[in-house]
Symmetry: C2
Subunit: 135 residues, 2 copies
DNA sequence: GGTATTATGGACATACGTGTCCATAATCCT
DNA sequence: AGGATTATGGACACGTATGTCCATAATACC
């Protein structure tokens, strides 16, 4: 249920970036201060997001970070996946990693299936634009 | 979203115990084999469950583990809480650990709140009896 | 071209979850 | 009482997430 600290850092940073876009790139250290995350650690997170195509990074004087696309076209799953890995898509309750087919033996599925589907739908359908007001 | 390995071990063990109750106590090593978990590690998990009042443990020749109550009166949250800690009850998406009030500023709440509530309701209302068929 | 500025990357430290190994305590049976 | 059986607890090993520190590469500005 709980996202890793890196995932939360990433979400907070991207959401803040989306809420304060003004055409200029944002410095890593400013972003770290605004989002209240250690700057040296956030820089790694941001680099990962840049490699993943969510952010664009530029070095030098007028450098910093920007969203690679409008916030309405960035889904939470894209931000979170590099840090959560396969754990982002939950499987069977009692057999993590297994596909968890509805028809099967596990009687936990009726209840667990709803949780699982609600969660995955949240990550796959929610966009950064719907989050950016949050803090 | 993902429960810790210890929580899953605990759920599997308790569910298996519930599905195979026959009046006799079950040996830790047999339980470990059935549930496919390292015996020396599962023993710690089972000890925690016994301390938590979910299981009763008895030593000696006819010893082993039993459910402390009928499976229909053991809720998943009781099994999982000792291993998940406060993480078992998710908070605000972008501020883990915060109460996450609906009225507040965070625009993630409409979508995230449903996920959160579905998850906590699952843990608090589902009983072992509804799980024990699973494997 | 040179210098300041910024992101990038590597090395390292720490904490914790998971797992292993072994000695000890409690209990049952003869 | 004594020995076999079983759970309990402590010490240790290992990998990974998180976080820190510092050198290096890329870029803008003069």
């Amino acid at each position: 249920m709980i996202l890793s600290a890196s995932s939360v850092h990433a979400l907070r940073a991207v959401a803040w970036l989306a809420a304060h876009e003004n055409g200029e790139a944002m410095l890593g250290r400013d972003l770290a201060r605004q989002v209240n995350v250690p700057a040296d650690y956030l820089s790694k997170v941001l680099a990962t997001l840049a490699r993943g195509g969510v952010l664009t990074a530029s070095r030098g004087v007028k450098g910093g970070y920007r969203l690679a696309r409008p916030a309405s076209r960035i889904r939470l799953i894209e931000v979170v996946l590099p840090f959560e890995g396969k754990r982002a898509i939950p499987g069977c309750l009692l057999r993590p990693g297994h596909p968890c087919r509805e028809s099967g033996a596990c009687s936990a599925h009726p209840a667990w299936g709803r949780v699982k589907d609600t969660y995955t739908a949240f990550l796959e359908k929610t966009t950064i634009a719907q989050i950016k007001g949050g803090s």
